[in-house]
């Protein structure tokens, strides 16, 4: 390309030199007497006081610690304010390599911290990337604070939308696109309040780029956040439920997602001990201490089941034709399209209320109604249940011996070898991954007592949750010094492995153990069923369900993202030393990964 001519064709030609005694021309007079003006183009580009600065003040008032994001031009105004005006603190910008990871990180973070993290997504395409993770959080009743940029003046028409939130409206609790800065403040607070009021769920704000980039006019007040009040059961229902519980001879408590916090676990322990009722409580998160004598489903047939935020339709093992009571906030958040909670709550008494918020009143009412005679009965049955629990625990631990020396490594051995390395960590530990595909061995072998000891499953079962949710949970655990453990399926890891880089970049300590069975093993078993049912070739069940040929080298993958990594480990005798080395790295504050070739199921 040629250099530009010094004078463009449209510019006036230079005036000829004149003797200084001659009077100046009109143009020269004007130049010397009028005020110098900047070119309009430069003047209009500088915005010294953008509205997005005010937005950062609002986000800070909401106590949003982090903003997980993959960059996008539709929110560059807000991003600039976060990193410059806000000095990249409260919220701190977390660099994610995929929007699904950003949302899933926020999902995992909220399960530990009990409050939302912000996920900042690019218009249309970024939101589409994040949609699956939003759906998981929605089904899991976990708050995520989602902000999506909208830039209808932007360079890519395909990123525009008339109704940005439409594509995820079925699985967010509330969405809004504020038209003014003042409205943003009010919407931001409302979104936060709705997200954190049971039933908790993701919320979404759409932020127009014009609003982000406009100069701040006036100074809208930063709204204050009031702690939300939780919907508890009415007193008449509480009295009736307490009466039935006290009268029942063999009640069962079926805890799905009742304990959002440690207080929830403590309350459930109080109720169970008061009634001496067994609790099915290590299901979709830790609701009840795993080694409590009342943990389990008791013995014999129950005559009453109390479902507390059940994740299915309710019911509990060992139930006779007795009374069923369900307390669940699910019916308060039902959308017509996706049936994430398995249909209407069932029971003889169904209360649409938050179970954890109802427990204090229920405990008080049970305490009021129970008589000395009933107390004696409760104590007798409690001794039976404690014995049943002890026998079951003995059997479960003994079962861990099966395949103990097998190659590939048994999942029970992975959990057993890990336990002594984390149990004595002075700042405690946190198991931040699902355990359903692991034979639930951590829940069987580890002493889970605190809410952060097990944060539960995916929500909607959407793959790709494991690694990013674990990183988000580990981020929340970091400030408490806890060691975070993620036993990670290999299939799940391959959806968005870039989150390993995010863990390395932001120095998030997390031990990831790839439970590597080189397959989408659940699907492999389903295919095997189909092939056998049709009697035409079980040997082909592996087509499309295995992850082999070539085998994926997760050690090299992790190293490429900047992590300490070892593997693949196939010999069980090599596992313990490798775990010790990796745990030492994590205790020192960095993420580490071990690739362990495992038996397909526990």
């Amino acid at each position: 390309m040629l250099a530009a001519e010094p004078t463009s064709a449209s510019a006036p030609p230079p005036e000829p030199k004149r003797p200084s005694a001659l009077p100046p021309t009109e143009a020269a007079l004007a130049r010397e007497t009028q005020a110098v003006q900047r070119t309009p183009a430069v003047e209009s580009y500088i915005v010294e006081n953008p509205a997005s600065d005010q937005m950062v003040d609002v986000l800070r008032a909401l106590d949003l610690e982090y903003c997980a994001s993959n960059p996008g031009s539709s929110f560059e105004g807000l991003q600039e304010s976060i990193v410059n005006y806000g000095d990249n603190r409260m919220p701190e910008f977390l660099t994610c390599l995929h929007e699904e990871s950003a949302v899933a990180m926020a999902h995992g973070y909220a399960k530990i911290e009990g409050k939302p993290m912000m996920a900042l997504l690019h218009g249309t395409v970024g939101l589409q990337h994040g949609a699956m993770a939003i759906y998981n959080a929605y089904a899991d009743r976990v708050p995520v604070y989602i902000v999506v940029g909208l830039d209808n003046d932007g360079p890519v028409a395909a990123h525009n939308a008339l109704d940005m939130a439409a594509m995820v409206r079925d699985f967010v609790k509330w969405d809004h696109q504020p038209e003014s800065l003042d409205q943003f403040g009010r919407s931001a607070v409302r979104a936060y309040t709705l997200a954190t009021t049971p039933p908790m769920a993701p919320v979404l704000l759409v932020l127009d780029a014009r609003l982000q980039k406009a100069p701040l006019e006036g100074a809208p007040a930063v709204p204050t956040l009031s702690a939300p009040r939780f919907p508890a059961a009415d007193s008449a229902s509480v009295k009736e439920i307490a009466r039935l519980l006290v009268a029942a001879n063999s009640p069962r408590i079926n805890a799905g997602q009742v304990a959002r916090t440690q207080e929830g676990i403590d309350l459930l322990v109080e109720l169970a001990e008061l009634l001496q009722a067994p609790v099915n409580g290590v299901t979709n998160r830790l609701n009840f201490p795993s080694r409590h004598p009342l943990a389990g489903t008791g013995t014999g047939l129950g005559d009453l089941v109390l479902n507390l935020e059940p994740t299915g339709r309710g019911g509990a093992p060992g139930m006779a034709n007795g009374t069923t009571i369900t307390i669940s906030a699910s019916e308060l958040l039902v959308t017509s399209n996706y049936n994430v909670r398995g249909g209407a709550r069932r029971g003889d008494i169904v209360v649409a209320a938050d179970a954890q918020a109802t427990l204090p009143a229920l405990i008080e009412e049970v305490r009021r109604q129970v008589t000395d005679d009933r107390k004696r009965h409760f104590e007798e049955r409690g001794q039976r249940y404690a014995l049943t629990h002890a026998r079951r625990r003995q059997r479960e631990v003994a079962d861990a011996r099966h395949g103990w020396d097998a190659t590939p490594v048994s999942l029970a051995r992975v959990a057993a070898e890990l336990w002594p390395l984390i149990r004595d960590h002075e700042d405690d530990w946190s198991f931040v991954s699902p355990q359903r595909f692991l034979g639930s061995w951590p829940g069987k072998l580890w002493n889970m007592t605190r809410s952060h000891h097990f944060i539960g499953n995916h929500g909607a079962g959407g793959m790709g949750y494991g690694a990013p949710a674990a990183v988000g949970a580990a981020l929340a655990n970091r400030k408490y010094g806890r060691i975070s453990i993620n036993i990670q399926g290999d299939g799940d890891l391959n959806y968005a492995p870039g989150v390993l880089w995010t863990a390395a970049h932001h120095q998030i300590p997390l031990l990831t153990i790839v439970a590597n069975n080189r397959a989408y093993h659940q699907e492999l078993m389903f295919m095997q069923q189909q092939c056998a049912a049709r009697n035409r070739g079980v040997d082909r069940a592996r087509i499309g369900t295995t992850i082999e040929d070539p085998n994926i080298d997760y050690t090299q993958m992790a190293k490429a993202y900047g992590l300490y990594a070892e593997g693949p480990i196939a010999n069980p005798n090599d596992l313990g030393p490798a775990l010790r080395r990796a745990v030492d790295r994590v205790k020192a504050g960095e993420p580490a990964l071990l690739d362990v070739l495992t038996q397909p199921r526990g």
């Binding site: 003994a398 011996r401 999942l411 336990w419 492999l524 078993m525 069923q529 009697n535 040929d549 196939a570």
Partner: protein, 143 residues
Amino acid sequence: MRMTGWLSLGLGVSGAALFTVVTAGATIEPSQDPAALRGDTDRGRVLFETYTCYGCHGYTGETGFGPRLNPPRHDQAEFVQYLRNPRNPRRMPPYQQDDASDQTLADIFAYLTSLPSASPEAESIPLLQTILTGDENADDPPN
């Protein structure tokens, strides 16, 4: 301790082709007494993978959702009978003669009977004993 074909042979989708070769040499006589067929351990090892038995029973027949197969709890006749008519066909797929011949099942049975145990007694595993006694956690960790 045994390393199965999944690791040592690198079997992938090529397992289907390998299965064809293996079964080509097998004697498939539905009228024969299934219990009288002599199984081939090496063929059985490959078939155990090809038929994805390991999916529910683990690579050594000792782990997973399904019942323990190592050591076998039934004789060969009972084993074949069960696979033809499992008690719960929604969990354990039924294998008919066309899909898995008596010889195929005899080979798998022979493999199962040849497997050494990788499951020591729980009492001999210190880690499990410590977990069982609960001595490791006298005090709850801090919040």
